[in-house]
């Protein structure tokens, strides 16, 4: 590793930190604007971007030497989605006839 890379982690960390704060600010402000059903979507998309920034850069998932750790994350999110989506499938279709 050259000396050049010694300072770049810092730049990256502070950039991510700034992005996270901006994202929080946007989320907060957007909540007060009338977007109808898109309010929730916007908030969740920003939240997911923030979570990805933390996971990839702060938790060093991006630089991980093997794909295993990313597989752990992806599998977990997948099964969480199964829980959410399939139970919603029940609640969402109970009123159908």
């Amino acid at each position: 590793m050259s000396d050049h890379t010694k300072s770049s982690p810092l730049k990256m960390y502070f950039s991510v930190w700034a992005a996270l704060l901006v994202g929080t600010f946007i989320t907060y402000k957007a909540a007060f604007i009338e977007l109808g059903r898109f309010n929730a979507g916007v908030a969740l998309i920003i939240a997911t971007v923030k979570a990805l920034l933390v996971a990839l850069f702060f938790m060093h998932l991006k630089g991980a030497s093997e794909k295993l750790l990313k597989m752990v994350v992806i599998s977990t999110v997948f099964f969480l989605f199964i829980l959410l989506v399939l139970s919603m499938a029940d609640y969402g279709t109970r009123a159908w006839h």
Partner: protein, 547 residues
Amino acid sequence: MPMPNGPQGERENYLNKEYGAGSWLLTTDHKRIALLYLMSITFFFFIGGFFALLIRLELLTPAGDLVQADTYNKLFTMHGMVMVFFFLIPSIPAVLGNFLVPMMIGARDLAFPRINLLSWYLYIIGGVMMLHCMLTGGVDTGWTFYTPFSTAFTNTKIVEAGLAIFVAGFSSILTGLNFVVTIHRMRAPGMTWSRLPLFIWAHYATSIIQILGTPVVAITIVLVAAERTLHLGIFDPKLGGDPLLFQHLFWFYSHPAVYIMILPSMGIVSEIIACFSRKRIFGYSFVALSSIAIAVFGFLVWAHHMFVAGISVYAALVFSLLSYAVAVPSAVKVFNWTATLYKGSIRYDAPMLYAFGFLGLFTIGGLTGLFLACLGIDVHVTDTYFVVAHFHYIMVGGALMGYLGGMHFWWPKISGRLYPEGWARLAALIVFIGFNLTFFPQFILGYVGMPRRYYQYPPEFQVLNVLSTAGATVLGVGYLLPMIYFLWSMRYGKPAPDNPWNAAGLEWKTPSPPTTYNFEQEPVVTWEAYNYEELDAPHKEEVPVAR
């Protein structure tokens, strides 16, 4: 450093390396921890079995004359809770998995030995809590804790039982975590994924379920406890809650939990069938990947326990279809095991008898699962003895038989002694006969309409119930026999050679019993799994492993 094969005691091994309670209670040796688990789960098996005995005694007569209705509710609840959470789920992974996983991959121990010991202590703490709960009144909701009965109506000790299971659940999670990291990180050089014994693949898949599923039931228990103590209303219809939400969250874990119970047993069956047919398992990759497929698909089917509970018909259709799909990987295994037997050189030692028993009984249990996956049939037989028979065929006829087979197969390695083969074959036969006598009549009982969890029934059902109870007695004898002769063998059994079965696998290249660190030098693997042709060849070609 080659060690002479003398009778136990002449040579240092993991059993005689240190004596005293402290050396056992503070051990980090995966083999000692496995034995600690063996004693604990056997104890809880007796407790669960005791409740089963009382249930079957009550059901000898149509009237409710042995115990009161509330007591009967407690009996089947405690039977279920103890057997599921304190026997079946830990049994194979915590005993045989702990003992064998490091050895099979050529490692000295699991990745986290101290967490392994913590797992056992968590299990014990949960177990003590459950014992205390039972001794001070127990629980009467069924092992499934359905709301709002469990949260708003019953007066029994839900919170305590729930906490006991919560603690035991973390034992399960940590075991799973340990296995996954071990299998990824600690394999010996040359032990590639495609050379792993199928026992390892099975435990890997099991661990995935333990890791991802158990936390959901943990939070469900927290919610039930919170609702019960703080009257929150999350599951109470009177307060706007939905009882079905509990069922969704509960079964999201508890269905995959049954795969936690069966997958390790399937791993054992693969090892036994290969050894006693002297053949590589037919379709190794299919069997390996089917374990992963079972783990994945197992998470997609939970609402088939809720078909008549009030979920939407459209959701029920989806879950029914997925439940048919989950049977496919299990069937793949059964076909591959059968193909392994074909033109094999079959030996009928006790482990193989249990494997045969597994093949037949698991198939019946699995097929009846398909009956239940069919909405039209399920409407009629759900909550009847048909379901009870179905899951006992899988859990007892399947998982428990595999466990017993595995205990016999690896007993020489674990204890350094041979068990008496004649008695073992007799016991296997008694178990098989007793099991079928106990549970086959229950299929019929369910089909003709006897509900489960009832302590009274119409007189015309009595004959079948009496048969079932008689079978249970025979089954009990069948279970007692191995406990007696295993104990007997520890003192009087013939000393075991390193590889009494001439089986394939790294664990057989260690002394019986093994030394604490398993391998003096890390093995280097250059052969495929189940290399029985080489093992049985007149001139042994296998690469010697220094020990």
